[in-house]
Amino acid sequence: MATSFKKELLLGHHNFGTGVIRAGTGADSFKAALYLATASMGAASTVYSVTNEVSGSGYTAGGVAVTFATPPNATGTTAFVTPSANIVFSGVTLTTSFDAVLLYNSTQGNKAVSVHTFTAQTITAGTLTLTMPVNDASTGLLRLV
């Protein structure tokens, strides 16, 4: 498979079926939402849902915006892209443990992109900072290998 094709998938260049009407060539907008440890988040998650999303002081349903200032890239045979800024939930109180963040496309009907799970946490009158991995073919947040 052409590595260029993998990168172009991340750029939305190909459509083998009925696609979406894009408003322009600009990048879509993405968001990150947190989910309770009791939820079953994973590859079967198809769209953002408020069901089992965390709730608490300072947290807005739908989560926070995710910044992709660096476009998809490819190294070797792997295409990859990673948010260019940390995902930060500031000044929140989330007393029910959560262990997953859903990355989703808020431009395209809130369709799910990926689920990232971690050790269950709570936050009290504080900030959760998710620091992104190195944006390369080995560790990038989203990779087509």
């Binding site: 998938l9 971690f118 946490q121 998710l130 620091t131 991995p133 990779r143 087509l144």
Partner: protein, 62 residues
């Protein structure tokens, strides 16, 4: 003297008991801090370094 935001509002940090720790596994390194007043957590923060994202094997058959 520094005040920090807690469930009790702004509180002088020196009046609280602070504990902190680090956990690590193959996916993340997590640092956390807790501040307690009379044994009750009044503030907890987490910084999580994601070590790696997710990948999808992209293969083409003949």
């Amino acid at each position: 003297m520094a005040e920090i935001f807690t469930t009790l509002g702004m509180v002088e940090e020196s009046t609280l008991v602070k504990t902190e720790g680090t956990t690590e596994n193959e996916n993340e390194t997590t640092q956390w801090q807790e501040w307690r007043k009379d044994g009750v957590i009044v503030k907890r923060e987490v910084q999580m370094q994601l070590k790696q994202g997710v990948f999808m094997p992209a293969e083409a058959s003949l």
